[in-house]
């Protein structure tokens, strides 16, 4: 009887350890849930010629946003992202754009052109390994991940509630009209104030992130 109980206890502890090691999925994310730690990364090349590692990030709040130059949903939202970075200037917030697609128009040379043409006012890095995207379960561009001072995930999803795309004629179309709910801005404000983030997860919308398969 004692042996049986001991075996059950060992199994239970084993399951708990396994459970804590495996990231759990969010409502719209197959890999991580709110509270997940920010993955470490090192020496990702940026459009300004520098490299960036997670250890370099000293700000209280870090916003990672997955981008793809070719994507009309990124082009449609570029101005909103740049405006938000401007708005939060002076606060302890660091925005980092991440491109992971391997197609030529999403790689570093094209990223440099895109960043310049669109006035990117944040660090824009290329992660050829795609590890950062995989570990965060990023599937669309643009898709936002906001981390607090503890580097735990506090928000993921859209920048606001009206995803916009750039139409063929160059105009920008907000799918739900003028945005009314600014999720990333609200998450940053809540984290800065030490409050709970009001909306922690939304359904991101945009182009698919194109992951390489191990079998080619």
């Amino acid at each position: 009887m004692t042996k049986k109980l001991t075996r059950m206890f060992v199994c239970l502890v084993g399951l708990l350890i396994l459970g804590s090691a495996v990231a759990s999925a969010g409502q719209y994310n197959a890999v991580v849930d709110i509270g997940a730690p920010m993955p470490e990364f090192s020496d990702l090349p940026a459009t300004d010629g520098s490299t960036l590692s997670s250890d370099d990030l000293e700000e209280d709040i870090v916003v990672l946003v997955f981008l793809a130059n070719h994507c009309p949903w990124v082009k449609g939202m570029d101005a909103d992202l740049v405006a938000l970075v401007d708005e939060l200037e002076g606060q302890s917030v660091r925005f980092v754009g991440v491109s992971v697609n391997h197609r030529d128009d999403d790689r570093l040379p094209a990223m440099k052109e895109h960043a310049l043409a669109n006035g990117y006012n944040f660090t824009y890095v290329f992660d050829e390994s795609q590890a950062l995207g995989r570990r965060l379960g990023a599937t669309t561009t643009p898709e936002y991940f906001v981390f607090g001072k503890d580097r735990r995930l506090a928000y993921m999803g859209l920048i606001h509630n009206s995803p916009a795309s750039k139409r063929r004629d160059g105009t920008v179309n907000y799918t739900r009209g003028e945005p009314t709910d600014f999720y990333v801005r609200d998450a940053v404000a809540a984290l800065s104030a030490g409050d709970e983030v009001p909306v922690a997860e939304t359904r991101s919308h945009g182009c698919s992130v194109e992951y390489q398969r191990a079998d080619g």
Partner: protein
């Protein structure tokens, strides 16, 4: 892997004659699409969710057309659902030209609701996505790119169709 057809959405090969005339892009709401989908019950149905702004969708589409020609005689129905911005006339025209260029002579629908709402109603995170329904109408294969570590391939689509055909009673 299917050959890259990247620019095809803007500059498709010319389609002529009966095939071009047979290609239609029918505007529907999500609710109307669901009614159309329900009508497919009784046959294996392969539904390809795509848009011209989605490069992987454009790259995969020729394979869907190839599968249509291969499996049509076995009673498999192919349908495409376009998620281009219905308010972007140039995008819709481009989608129509692309379908003509691909000689996509199966049923093609264009969702008329705004794209973000359409994704939500269709429970889509991203496209391309291929939904494969068994003859009893049950969604049996939901092939998506929703998990970075589990991306579907053209082979997965073929295997799913083959599996469902294998389940049909011999006649």
């Amino acid at each position: 892997m299917i050959a890259c057809a990247g620019p095809a959405a803007d500059a498709p090969p010319a389609a002529t004659g009966r095939d071009a005339a047979a290609v239609e892009l029918r505007p529907v709401t999500v609710e109307e699409w669901r009614i159309e989908l329900a009508r497919l019950e009784g046959r294996i149905a392969v539904v390809d969710m795509w848009a011209t702004w989605c490069i992987p969708c454009i790259e995969r589409f020729p394979h869907m057309v190839e599968l249509f020609h291969r499996y049509e005689a076995e009673g498999v129905t192919f349908v495409s659902v376009c998620l281009d911005d219905p308010g972007d006339e140039q995008a819709v025209a481009s989608a129509r030209r692309f379908l003509e260029g691909q000689r996509a002579v199966f049923a093609n629908y264009l969702i008329t609701e705004n794209t973000a709402d359409a994704f939500e109603k269709l429970d889509l995170l991203s496209i391309p996505a291929v939904f494969i329904y068994a003859a009893d109408g049950e969604l049996r294969y939901r092939l998506t790119a929703d998990d970075p570590n589990d991306q579907f391939t053209d082979s997965d689509v073929e295997a799913a169709i083959s599996n469902l055909l294998g389940e049909l009673p011999l006649v």
